[in-house]
Symmetry: C2
Subunit: 202 residues, 2 copies
């Protein structure tokens, strides 16, 4: 390899290859593209990387990614204080925010219970969640956690924990919109049947 790429280029390709979903071919293509860009643009990208790493921490209230001590969502006065949506990861907050359907607040657990990987309830942000759930204004806690084995375990565990404080609900699982009964897997279809609701005749 050392004769194919000049040293600093080889080092850059090596770094890019460590990114998820970036193989050797893509890393080479990205690196050669970057070499052709103006130096100011490269400096700005490098600075953006370092800034993001140094400035982005987690919100002290909900544990969502934030550059401030408290995140934009927790500070927003127009958001509904009575509903908490519990998710595993910040990327779930981002996904739900993009729907523009939810106006309550969030709580990021920071993972899922997984005895196989040694992740016990102590590793999740559960104590602050209980404190928040016990506040009188909270009326509903929505669990929006993936329907995986770890997700189910976590949903049941957190559900039990929060039951004394508020109504605990979970998001629906079923056929995706645009999906096809014929091609749905059995588990999804079973969940869709299980979650059936009476037709709304209004």
């Amino acid at each position: 390899m050392s004769t194919v790429y000049t040293r600093p280029l080889a080092r850059l390709i090596e770094h890019l290859q460590r990114l998820p979903g970036i193989g050797p071919k893509t890393a080479q293509r990205l690196a050669l593209h970057l070499l052709k860009r103006p130096e100011a643009e490269i400096q700005a990208l490098a600075q953006a990387l370092v800034d993001a790493k140094q400035q982005v921490g987690v919100c002290s209230v909900c544990f969502h990614l934030s550059a401030d001590p408290t995140c934009d969502i927790c500070r927003a006065p127009q958001r509904d204080d009575s509903t908490l949506c519990v998710v595993a990861d910040s990327r779930d907050v981002i996904a739900i925010e993009k729907t523009r359907e939810y106006r309550g607040k969030y709580h990021v657990l920071g993972g899922l219970i997984s005895p196989m990987e040694g992740i016990t309830p102590d590793h999740l942000h559960l104590h602050p969640l209980i404190q928040r759930a016990s506040q009188p204004q909270i009326t509903e806690i929505i669990l929006a956690i993936n329907p995986s084995i770890e997700g189910e375990t976590t949903t049941l565990y957190v559900g039990q924990l929060l039951k004394p404080f508020a109504k605990v609900t979970r998001i629906a699982f079923g056929l995706p919109v645009g999906g096809d009964l014929e091609y749905a897997d059995e588990i999804t279809l079973a969940r869709a049947l299980e979650g059936r609701r009476e037709l709304d005749w209004r």
Copy 2:
């Protein structure tokens, strides 16, 4: 967008999205992955970006990417001085080097003649190529240029230019190894027929 991503994260995603083949979803995934890596790793990536941009220039002899005034290939004493392989871009040098089949030297044109895009022969590294081609040790010049319209124009132009100095050849075009006659496009098949060679009975 501003409420979905905290500011420094939004800026990083914006920068990543400018890379070729990286859409908004991939940019978000990469940025969230990077936030979870140790700061030392992010600093190293940022440094690798800046170093590559600042240190990698082109070889003064062959115009291949190089961190030194002369590239590794031009300096390698064991490489064949009598053959020059002319390519459009440094990435073509890398592709040919990876075959480990070629032991001669290269010359990177830095583009292809394209009247449509205003790229005339003056924009390519042709004067240094003529100087190299006129050296007595050069016996063969291989043109390894893509079979596109611009590539054909450039091949014919450069071929005419170099004919007085040495034997000028070009790489073969035809059915790719593992390819299927039935699925080959007509132009490739025509080129494969045109380039037919007598069977070697040895």
